[in-house]
Each structure stands twice: as C-alpha cells, then as structure tokens.
Amino acid sequence: MQHWTILPILLPLLVASAMLLPPLSSRIQWLRIASISTLTILTLLASLQVFTVISEGSQLYILGGWSPPFGIALVADKMSALLVLLTSFLALCCMIFACADHDKSGEFFHPLFLFQVMGINGAFLTGDLFNLFVFFEVLLIASYALLVHSGGKNKTQAAVHYVVMNLLGSSLFLFGLAILYGTLGTLNIADMAVKISQLPESETILAKIGALLLLIVFGLKSAMLPLQFWLSRTYSSASAPVAALFAIMTKVGIYSIFRVFTVIFGDDAGELANFASAWLWPLAILTISIGSLGVLASPTLKRLTANLVIVSAGTLLVAAALHSELATAGALYYIIHSTLVTAGLFLLADVIAKQRGQAEDRLVNSRALSQPKLIGFGFAILALTIIGMPPFSGFIGKIMVLNSAQSMSTRLLIWPVILMSSLIALIMFSRAASKLFWKAPNNKNAAEKAHPYEVIAIGLLILGAPLLVIFGGSVTSYVMQAAADLHNMDVSVYPLLPEESL
C-alpha cells in the first residue's frame, strides 16, 4: 500500500522496458494487449489514489528512505492525483485509438507511448524541482520520437523546431534551477517555500531572476504568448493519437506554473509574494487573443484544434495570474475539460480526414463522409463543449474561471477577452461544420468506415463532457479542496518536511 504513490511511474517504465525485449517486441497483438491492459490498470490505480487522497490526505513517498529535504520525494496531493488520473485515462483512450493500426506505421510506438506517460505522471507527482526537470526530459525525449513517428517531411520539419526550442528551454530550466539552488540551498519544493521567506534582501533579486527563468520555461511548455509559435505546427503535423496525448503536455507547463508560483512564490514568500502575477497578466490576455486570431485563420480542423489548445492555455494562465483559490479551482476543472475535448477533436479530425480522401481535414467543400451522422453527432458535442455552451462541461469550466475574477477591474480585463474567444470559436466551428457536413454532396461515399476502436476511443473522450456536468457537484467540491490545499501552507508545505528542518 505504501508504494502506491510511485506505481504510476514504475508501471509504465517496467512494461515499456519489457516491450523492447524479444518475446514482446515483434508481436503487435501482444504489444497492444500489454499497453491497453497497463493503461487500464494505471487508470484504476490512479482513481484509487484519488480516493485515498480524499480520505487520508496527501501521500508523501520518500525515495530510498532519504528523508526530505535531502532526498527526492514524491507527493500525491489532491491536485497531482487528479492530474495523474486524467493523464492515465487520456492515454488509455489514445492507445485504444492507436490500436486501429495507427501503431503499425513505425517501430517502437508502444514503448515510446508508455515512456511518455511515465514522464507526464512523474512530472505531476514529483516534489522536487530538479526531479521535475528530469521528468520533463523523459517526457520530452519520448515526445520527440513520437512526433517524428512514421516519418514524412512535415513531421521532420516540425520536429526540428520543436526539439531545438525545447532544448533551449531545458538549458534555461537548468540556469534557473542553479540560481535558485545557489540562493536557497535546496530544490525540494516544500523546503524552498519555507526558505524563500527567510531570504536576505540582497539575494531576493537573484531568486527572482531564477524564478522568472523558470516562468519562461514553463511558458514555453504551456504555449504562453511569445513562445507559442511551435505549437500549432507541431500538434497539427503529429499523428492523431500522439497529438491527442500532447493535449496534456501544455497542461504540464500550466501545472508547474501553479505549483511553483503558488507554493513557493505564493502569498507567504515575503518580498517575492505573487510577483509573477504582474508578468502573467498581459501575457495570458495576449495568448488568448493570438490563439483566437489563429483559430480564425485555421485552414484545417487540426490547426483549428491546435489553436484552441493555445486559447485554453491562455485561459488557464489568466487563472494563474488571478492567484486565488477560486481561480485555481476553476483552472483545475478547466484543465480536465479542455484536455479531454481537445484530444477528442484531434482524434475526430483524423477520422474525418481519412473519410474525405484528398481534401483531408481542410475546411473546404468536398465529398461527403461515409458516416456523417455518427461523426457529426460527436463533432457537435465536442464543438459545443469547447465553445462553452451549456449543457456541457465547457460551460461550467468557463463560468468558474470567469467567476473567479472578483474585482471590477479584473472582470473588465478578463470577461471581454474570454467571451470574445468563445464567440470566435463558435463562428469557426459553425463554418467548419457547414463545410464538413452540410455542404457535402449527397452521394454515398465508399470510403472505409471508422474502425470500432476509433469510435470507442472518441466515444470515451466525449463521455467526459456530460459526465463532468452530471457529477459536476462532486468534481467542483474536489477541485475546490485541491485548490484550498495548494494555497494553504499548512497542507501543501509543512506536512512534507520533518519537524526539525522547519
């Protein structure tokens, strides 16, 4: 029982390593069974962990018995347990989709996929900033390989940009970590939160520089304004299951911003309290604006979805800039909703592209789909959800974020931008739907129908939209508690450290 916290990291690691060895490595059917069963177990484990965290509070796992702040600790609190569950479920859906022969187009798809899941889970669970860097690298190197998986000009070119950008990001991450270690003498998140308030005045400027370097890195991961140019090309050129899994990657950046700038540089950070808000405000607003412009200019459904990822990242950054419990809770709800919906749209875009032949997913008039009703129904739900129309989860998510702006000045700043972005999404989706579904000639299309696995995967992702509303009460109360825990040093910091080090 005590080792449960590390299982979301260990299980994919072990299975992925076993997949590289002979008995499994050459049999695609076995590989599929292995990865789907692993991810199913992982989803069950993660949901059990959520229930454990609800009943027993945060779980601290000390690797190798080196007690914090010296060793590496894993922390499963309400926020990270929820995000691990989200990752596992999303990965399961993407894997089911990939098993419809998307995994055959290149080698090592299954192990790479599991390594990526391991990296993402690790990034959510770790309680140590250097360990966060290591898990970032794990998930990045797996994502580099997954991005170029099955090859092609477009993918290689997108990958060059993506890899170079992220390698630069890694260097900046290390510079930031070194500065913070040099001033604070620790990299354990909880310990840093304690030490930051005792920092002598001469060192605060250094700590601030280190923290801002980290903000640049997390901004790069989460597609914050000047650093978002890589995203739309990367996501739209990746193969569908990979792009859908990437939907959670920007959220890793957002999570890190919340973790670092709420726990370490939060309300109790003395001179440096909440200093990042001033930087996040304009960047977040501009990110939404540029994302919306991108949405308007998107020529294909995949590009459209990729730009919507930028818009959702901007919305989450607004919540981070607001820096209150309500905003964090809204952001958490919004993370779950937007991850599932954008992943669903990426998968659906691939199905649509396959059935339309040469026109692919470009928003032009072309022949009809072979399953217009089924796909149209899914598309309608996903579109309504991401636009933020009731009765689906997007509505509640947006309401929570909008509602967390309490003062008049913040409302004036946030509401027009978010509501305009919703309107733009509405316009673009109406246009896309009329091109894809209505303006098509009525003749029968002989193209292959969607594989049952593809239908199941997209169906599971769509199911999230109504479920998040039906169980909206319990989900919102959970995210409220998670946000309250994150903002409360008595829960998010002190229990994670031995008493003598306080």
Binding site: F130, A159, V160, L168, S171, G182
Partner: protein, 123 residues
C-alpha cells in the same frame, strides 16, 4: 578564480545563444552544445567554488557541497543524449527536406514561380 570562471560561463553562453540563432542546423546544434557546457559549469558553481575541500564532512576544514556535482552529472547525461538526438534529427531533416536550414527552406533559393524557365523568361 571566480572572475575567470564567470567569464568562461558568460563567453560560452553568448556563443551558444549566437549560434543557436543561426539559420543552419549544424551551427544550431553546436550552439546548443555550447549552451549545455555553459549550463553544466554554471550548475557546478551554484554550490560555490572552493579549493582543497572534500565533499565528505570532517575530511577537510571546509566541505564542498556534493549536491551540485550530482546535479551536474545528471545534466551532463541528459544533455549528451539530447545532443545525440538532435544531431540525428538534423541529419534526417537534411535528407528529408533537401537542405540544412532550420526552416526547411533555403532563403537564397529563387522561388519556383519567379525562377526563369528554360527559355530564360520569367513567368
């Protein structure tokens, strides 16, 4: 010692950033490598520079902080793997795209539409 050390890190970082901003993949890869050297040195210095000090308590008058050394080791390993990957990717891009420009296009190349045809006319 601190002065020389800081100067080296600064030079490496400057060269690294300059080279990373270049247009061809080879210089970008070189730039990333230099940047990772700079980072490794910088990380090492975050535990403060000291001479004649052991990383074990009681072996010398002052002790050196062992943690940055462990961090540097991890960073070196990861940086090495990443450099290997980006090198292979750069070669693959050279093969797939037909040139070694980061954007995949040779900016000096005349676009096909304005290139003179066989008779020398521009169409």
């Amino acid at each position: 010692m601190e002065g020389i050390y800081a100067f080296c890190v600064g030079i490496l970082t400057t060269c690294g950033i300059y080279l990373t901003l270049r247009g061809r993949t080879f210089s970008v890869v070189l730039g990333l490598t230099m940047l990772s050297y700079a980072v490794n040195l910088f990380l090492f210095a975050s535990g403060r520079l000291s001479i004649d000090s052991a990383v074990i308590l009681g072996e010398s008058e002052i002790y050196a902080d062992p943690l940055p050394q462990a961090l540097v080791l991890t960073a070196i390993v990861i940086g090495f793997a990443m450099t290997a990957f980006v090198l292979i990717l750069a070669m693959r891009a050279r093969a797939d795209l037909g040139n070694d420009h980061v954007d995949g296009k040779d900016p000096t190349e005349i676009p096909a539409a304005t290139a003179p045809n066989r008779k020398g006319e521009i169409n």
